[in-house]
């Protein structure tokens, strides 16, 4: 037996995933950072350009495919999940990423997002949440907080926002994670986990719109407050946060609520702190619903519990299908009669 040494693989870099198109987001837009993180992720996972596809809807975020040197499809408003589903049904072997925003994904495309998540089509969904409509110049979005003043709500919005991660969990998503545009190492880590998960991976990325909603996430992304306002959930590890990692989440068993406690105060010990379990949907929902300032904003993989994918199940049915396989035989099933010449 001879040993064949494979030629050294050409090292791909993030730059290899830059397209020849000039990136046209507003200067300072969080999308630049996300683009960079995605290109880095593609390089680090060794993605093949020819088998990677970015599918998007309409909005600032949905311009994304033009800036990645893979295959890309910039579809219509809200419908990227449907186009991506059709693509995966035709070619399950492709690695499909879907890019959407809070308006595209949760307003006009809310229905499609619901169904792609419950079907568990194997793709990564990146939802850029900036709590505003950017491309149409600043109207409030379905994730805008009550009271958001915008051209269409000059006196402040009155309708309650939707929480994207809770929406995804409610729709039956098997992978739900969160990160922040500018937190590069964390974002890349989450994207790699999303890619690794077979099934629909839903990633909510808090993204800053410098023009229409600047600083909307400062309360937990601003460097000075971040350590005390962010909790990075990690599977199997205690849910602790704070500069000194001495604050944590404890479950009030009587009311099924979480509370923030400080280790070493009031008799609280490390043993009182909840340990993160990615496979626990209830815990994921509790974590996803927390907001500063009372609670930390929980980032990281909230939930990951893989299940069979839609396209695998569909193609398994196709392989198992019986019946006439030939058109001539098919057309002659049932009652026929022959007229002699």
């Amino acid at each position: 037996m001879t040993t064949i040494t494979p030629p050294p693989a050409k090292k791909v870099s993030a730059a290899d995933f830059e397209s020849d198109q000039e990136v046209r987001w507003c200067p300072g837009c969080g999308d630049y950072a996300i683009l960079k993180a995605v290109q880095r992720t593609l390089a680090e996972i060794g993605a093949k350009k020819e088998s990677t596809v970015f599918v998007s809807g309409i909005g600032c975020s949905s311009r994304f495919p033009y800036y990645v040197s893979t295959y890309g499809f910039h579809t219509i408003h809200g419908r990227a999940p449907a186009v991506a589903s059709g693509l995966k049904l035709a070619r399950p072997e492709l690695d499909v990423w879907m890019v959407t925003g809070d308006g595209d994904g949760l307003s006009i495309g809310g229905n499609h997002l619901l169904h792609v998540l419950r079907r568990n089509v194997d793709l990564q969904i990146l939802l850029f949440n900036n709590e505003i409509y950017g491309l149409t110049k600043g109207q409030y979005s379905p994730t805008s907080r009550v009271g958001t003043r915008s051209p269409s709500t000059p006196l402040g919005s009155v309708d309650a926002p939707v929480n994207p991660s809770l929406f995804a969990l409610g729709a039956g998503a098997r992978f739900v994670a969160r990160s922040v545009d500018t937190q590069q190492p964390h974002l890349v880590g989450v994207l790699k986990r999303a890619h690794e998960h077979k099934g629909t991976s839903f990633v909510e990325i808090f993204q800053n719109c410098v023009v229409y909603n600047d600083g909307v996430f400062d309360e937990f992304t601003e460097k000075s407050v971040a350590p005390d306002r962010q909790l990075i959930a990690e599977h199997g590890k205690p849910l602790v946060f704070g500069k000194d990692k001495n604050k944590g989440l404890r479950l009030r068993t009587q009311t099924l609520e979480l509370e923030v406690v400080t280790i070493g105060e009031n008799g609280v010990t490390a043993a009182d702190i909840l340990v993160h379990d990615e496979k626990n949907r209830t815990l994921a929902s509790l974590l996803g619903s927390l907001h500063p300032p009372t609670f930390p904003q929980v980032l990281g993989v909230l939930y990951c519990d893989p299940a069979p994918t839609f396209e695998d199940a569909i193609h398994a049915q196709m392989r198992a299908a019986t019946g006439p396989k030939d058109l001539n035989a098919l057309m002659r099933t049932g009652q026929t009669w022959t007229v002699a010449g």
């Binding site: 049904l89 569909i314 098919l330 007229v339």
Partner: protein, 622 residues
């Protein structure tokens, strides 16, 4: 395999000969009228007659028993000559209850045969049907051959030996009626017996009881000296070969499979959302997964169209099916398919509109929607099917055009054609046309909007192909590079190119023929879609009277065949009968500046030959 025969039974009275007969079986939704009609159809096909059938289901899923809106009917027209319609008037009507009589009597010709199950004509059912008194006794039925038969009682006697529950016994009533009608028109009943034995293979008692009921109905005809004549209808002259009956839905689905095979595509994705009357296409294809068919019941109409686009982008044939309101929802996505120049087959089983309209009734009022109904200048080819079996050829043709020209194609059929059936000379699938697609694989000189200089079709570059990575989308693209372009001249050029591509298809489709008559004369009767049959017979009747009338039936509605304008101009008058308020007529007028006249009918029912003859004669005499 049975050979055609119309030999009347050895016993029984002398039979009258008829060239063609129209029968309608009508009863409550639960009376099994569709099954009765289908079995009569198969026995008739086996007898060698040409035929056409149409089922008429109630709109309600479970209408209250005995009501007029719960009446279900099945009509069959069969004859010894070419049969192209389901017939204007009924020669025989079977009414299983008063409601069925109430709804259908108006269609029975005077002197026609009426079979009533008198046991159902009790006061309760009469009230439900809206009768003040029994029509059996009050003179309502004067002028018809009325056979008042206690079918329920006779059936109960026939099935007595089989130990059925009362409910099961009553359910054999339709087979008793079928037996009688098979006898009356000189049909065999062997197929029906074998079919019952297969259908109830696991319940032999039920099978035996149904066969006994069938035989009893048949024997009743032979022995009871009925107050109505019996008939023979000689076999039609038909080409040699193997036949079957086919509905528009079956022919369409098989045509799609044949088209996919001809295009040498190994993947096809049908994405649809349930809608009347289009869902049977989804159901039928869902059972044909062994042909490499992925069926996807999408969350809505928009998702269905978008998934079909995604599939085509991935190198499969993407298909979506719907009806008018669903097509309206897909409209924006259809524009995306036009813009990205991807082959998608869009099948519209038209129904009565606007809005929810008449979901279970037929209409051809989506022509404007198909030809014009999108934002922007968004041309796409439109084809229409004329008969149930024509759906096969048109589906193949739609796949050919979609893949050759890289464009979505709209295929218009309708609720009538989807459900109607007719005998079909089964084609040999190995001898069908072939038009294999070629995916782009060469990176050398590749641009996503490179075109075939002849067809102007864009290259089909499928994700997964190394070196062809590119981005497409709904924003206008540069003619050369395929990048986003807001350049004014480029938009003009791309708009012109999209139009020229679709217009150019005219050079690749057959010239418009004349379906009946000469290529000039006093009157051209121009139609499209399922009006083919009634127009054909009406034109034939007028020609028999000596009028210089011709039938022109258009399959290709966008673009039109290149000789159509010249052909139309060779007629003194042009009349366009349509089951809409006048759509093709204005398209023809706009396209050719010809004085085409409107002949519209929007009742949810097909044209009758007689009403067309009268209307066209009126135009000739004007």
């Amino acid at each position: 395999m049975a050979t055609p025969t119309a030999t009347p039974p050895a016993h029984g009275p002398a039979r009258q000969h008829r060239e063609s007969v129209v029968i309608r079986f009508a009863g409550d939704s639960g009376d099994g009228m569709q099954i009765t009609g289908s079995e009569f159809m198969v026995e008739t096909a086996l007898a060698g007659n040409d035929l056409a059938t149409f089922p008429d289901y109630p709109a309600e899923i479970r209408a209250p028993a005995g009501t007029t809106f719960g009446v279900s009917a099945f009509q069959i027209h069969f004859g010894s000559n070419e049969v192209l319609t389901v017939g204007d008037e009924l020669d025989a009507l079977v009414a299983m209850n008063p409601a069925a009589l109430k709804v259908n009597l108006k269609d029975l010709r005077k002197g026609g045969i009426l079979v009533c199950d008198i046991s159902t004509f009790n006061s309760r059912n009469l009230v439900k049907a809206g009768y003040q008194q029994s029509p059996l006794d009050d003179g309502t039925l004067t002028g018809y051959h009325v056979l008042k038969i206690d079918v329920t009682k006779l059936n109960a006697e026939a099935v007595k030996p089989f130990d059925l529950s009362a409910k099961e016994a009553v359910r054999c009533r339709n087979m008793w009626t079928l037996g009688l009608m098979l006898w009356m028109f000189g049909r065999e009943r062997q197929h029906s017996i074998e079919w019952l034995e297969r259908k109830f293979a696991k319940k032999p008692e039920i099978a035996k009881a149904n066969v006994a009921a069938l035989n009893a109905g048949h024997a009743f005809g032979e022995t009871a000296e009925l107050a109505a004549p019996a008939f023979t209808v000689a076999p039609a002259q038909v080409a040699a070969g193997t036949y079957r009956t086919v509905t528009g839905t079956e022919a369409l689905v098989w045509g799609v499979l044949a088209g996919v095979k001809a295009a040498a595509l190994d993947r096809v994705v049908l994405a649809s959302y349930p809608i009347t009357p289009s869902s049977p296409v989804l159901h039928t294809l869902a059972n044909l997964k062994q042909f490499g068919v992925v069926t996807f019941q999408a969350e809505d109409e928009i998702a269905a169209m978008c998934a079909a686009i995604g599939a085509s982008y991935g190198g499969a044939l993407g298909i979506t099916t719907s009806s008018g309101p669903g097509i309206a929802l897909k409209t924006e996505a259809i524009g995306l398919a036009v813009m990205t120049e991807l082959p998608v087959l869009i099948i519209n089983n038209q129904r009565g509109g606007p809005s929810t309209g008449l979901p279970t009734k037929t209409e051809q009022s989506d022509l404007y929607q198909a030809v014009y109904g999108r934002n922007g200048d968004t041309p796409l080819p439109v084809l229409a099917t004329a008969t149930p079996s024509d759906c096969f050829e048109v589906a193949i043709e739609a796949v050919r055009i979609a893949t050759k020209y890289m464009t979505p194609v709209m295929l218009l059929t309708d609720g009538y054609l989807a459900n109607a059936s007719e005998p079909w000379l089964i084609p040999d699938a190995t001898k069908l046309p072939s038009f294999p697609v070629s995916f782009r694989t060469d990176p050398e000189g590749f641009q996503p909007y490179l075109r075939d200089p002849q067809t102007l079709g864009r290259v089909w570059a499928v994700p997964g192909t190394p070196g062809l990575e590119h981005r497409i989308g709904g924003i206008e693209k540069d003619y050369n590079t395929g990048h986003i372009s807001y350049d004014p001249e480029n938009h003009q050029r791309m708009t012109d190119t999209r139009a020229a591509k679709v217009d150019g298809i005219a050079a690749d489709i057959p010239l418009q023929d004349v379906a009946l008559g000469e290529d000039s004369g006093d009157l051209a009767v121009v139609g499209w879609g399922s009006t083919y049959g009634p127009i054909h017979q009406a034109v034939r009747a007028l020609r028999a009277e000596g009028h210089r009338v011709s039938q022109i039936h258009i399959r290709y509605l966008k673009p039109f065949p290149r000789n159509l304008g010249d052909l139309l101009k060779r007629f003194r008058r042009i009349v366009v009968p349509e089951m809409n308020n006048g759509q093709l007529v204005t398209v023809l007028r706009a396209e050719y500046l010809v004085p085409a006249e409107r002949l519209a009918k929007v009742t949810g029912k097909p044209f009758k030959i007689s009403e067309l003859v009268a209307a066209l004669r009126g135009r000739l005499e004007k």
